[in-house]
Symmetry: C2
Subunit: 331 residues, 2 copies
């Protein structure tokens, strides 16, 4: 059986058997589940051709994006302060120092912005450029877990989706010229920025804590949308043993993008938007939407009885399933 | 300027500019320099063709070795308990699941032996198989630092060197048959085991702490010999601003191996023996040699005045420099 035939989801399921039960269920791992200063650790890979290419990203973008993707997993776990990162760099011997320098400048720039230091790392030759980043952070007010949603929760997105995929399409000149030209200059710039310089939503974690309704215990279901909005929602629904009901009229998609035929698909499954997708009791969800600009309710969790299995996504008021919840496979 | 022309040492020197001063000087990074429970983090890469190949290692060996190399860096930093590892796995889509399964079985087996859990990780496709492991541990009695040696210290090795390189030579049938046949079966098995299943010397760290002379403060210069014995000694000498004087008659080399023409070279620069090389005040060194089987004094640190520069290695009673202190370059 080859990895190609196994698929990424099944591979991850099998690898989870080597860790304590539930250990690999979340965006990152908590080292010490108790105490205010719990450390959180996360490792992410960026492989040339699969995650970046010279055609669409400069080396500083690669570095920024590598750090940002990892910090986004820390945010998705509920981290406040970032401790730092270690960097494993694989590069063929004919790689220019200037490229490496640019990558580290991008990494540093992200750390300068979000906190944390370069803690250590390793370098090696190899056939293909690759970055393996491990990020360490400390939990803020509480942990955010994929499995902590409950039926009745609001599903909330901290920002727009589909922009990163649009940015990639623009950089790869994938869109027919009239379509691309029909988009405003501001949106185009925003989309390219979203693709090259994604922003981990550590700020949203802070606002989330401020919005906790008095008297409510800390319970936040959540993940980031690095693998796509629909995949994130499916994780929350599956973790809660629920079905997710999405409001098709309230997708977190910029108006202009919604007018493209690809718009809805990119919003749901484009990936790499690095927003947080949360399952919150309605009062908390409402408070967060009011406090955090760009944050909106996108649906709710409902019990998984009847026809739809736990982890599935339906459009509100319909029995039609939502496409795109499988996420991207890297094999 | 390409990485090939820059060289690994200069690359690491340049990358250190992106971290706080001194941050990248040691085998691993201490997260919180104070307190008993300081966390230590280390990232290592294993790249197919450079660090392992199907010709000389099965998948379980690859997994064991990947974990062991990382845990060795934790030992070299003075760690006691291992917290765990994260694993970044890159593998082409046509990789057999059985290979991945073997690697994880090897990783688990090492963790079962030395402690710690699989904490998390990431998987991706790619052109070449690669493992990026980040290990986390907690400091034991005190930190071991490359720069903490002083003139007058004993240089001590916790075990034999050259075995892993001999094992590789045997597996690659690099030795002429009469030479290989001249070695005893026990040594050959030991050498192959040393190459495929290296042992991180966490046990030696424990013995080291028990041997601390009453009234002496904690001060231990040290590193592991993953890049070769001479390179390890050069790091200790350089970090202490000293010259290392090695006793050519007391190299930590198995007798039979010493009789091969390659023996001394492999002992000094074969690499991947994963022993600890320590700089200790003489009383502490003597106590450790007495307490730890296989541990021996190999030389001492002397002031760097006169002709020899700090970080250089001389044979005791001679002005001849010791070869092999540059270590292995992975580019």
């Amino acid at each position: 059986m080859l990895l190609r035939d196994l698929g990424e989801a099944e591979l991850l399921r099998r690898l989870a058997a080597y860790a304590p039960p539930g250990q690999l269920d979340d965006d990152a791992a908590i080292l010490r589940p108790s105490g205010d200063a719990s450390l959180v650790v996360n490792t992410d890979l960026l492989v040339e051709e699969l995650h970046f290419s010279d055609a669409t990203m400069g080396p500083e973008d690669v570095g920024w994006r590598a750090a940002a993707a990892n910090l986004s997993d820390l945010a998705a776990m509920g981290c406040g302060p970032v401790v730092g990162i270690t960097v494993g760099l694989v590069a063929p011997a004919d790689t220019a120092w200037a490229w490496v320098e640019g990558v580290y400048a991008g990494l540093s720039s992200a750390l300068g912005h979000y906190g944390g230091q370069l803690l250590g790392g390793d370098c090696s030759g190899g056939r293909q450029r690759m970055l393996a980043i491990t990020a360490l952070g400390r939990l803020g007010a509480g942990a955010i877990r994929r499995g902590d949603g409950r039926a009745g929760d609001w599903l909330v997105s901290t920002g727009p989706h589909g922009l990163s995929r649009l940015g990639l399409a623009l950089l790869q000149q994938e869109l027919p010229a009239p379509q691309a030209m029909g988009l405003g200059e501001t949106l185009r710039q925003q989309a390219i920025e979203a693709h090259r310089r994604p922003r981990p939503r550590l700020d949203a974690v802070e606002t989330l804590a401020h919005c906790q309704p008095p008297g409510s215990p800390w319970r936040v279901g959540g993940t980031d949308s690095s693998d796509g909005l629909a995949a994130a929602v499916a994780h929350l629904a599956g973790g809660a043993g629920c079905v997710a009901e999405l409001n098709r009229g309230a997708l977190p998609i910029p108006t202009e993008l919604a007018q493209l035929p690809q718009g809805e698909g990119w919003c749901l499954a484009g990936g790499e938007d690095f927003e947080l997708v949360l399952a919150l009791e309605p009062a908390w969800g409402e408070a967060l939407v009011a406090a955090l600009p760009g944050c909106q309710r996108i649906g709710r969790l409902i019990p998984a009885n009847g026809g739809a299995a736990a982890g599935s996504l339906l459009w509100q008021g319909s029995v039609e399933p939502v496409a795109g919840s499988r996420g991207y496979s890297h094999f």
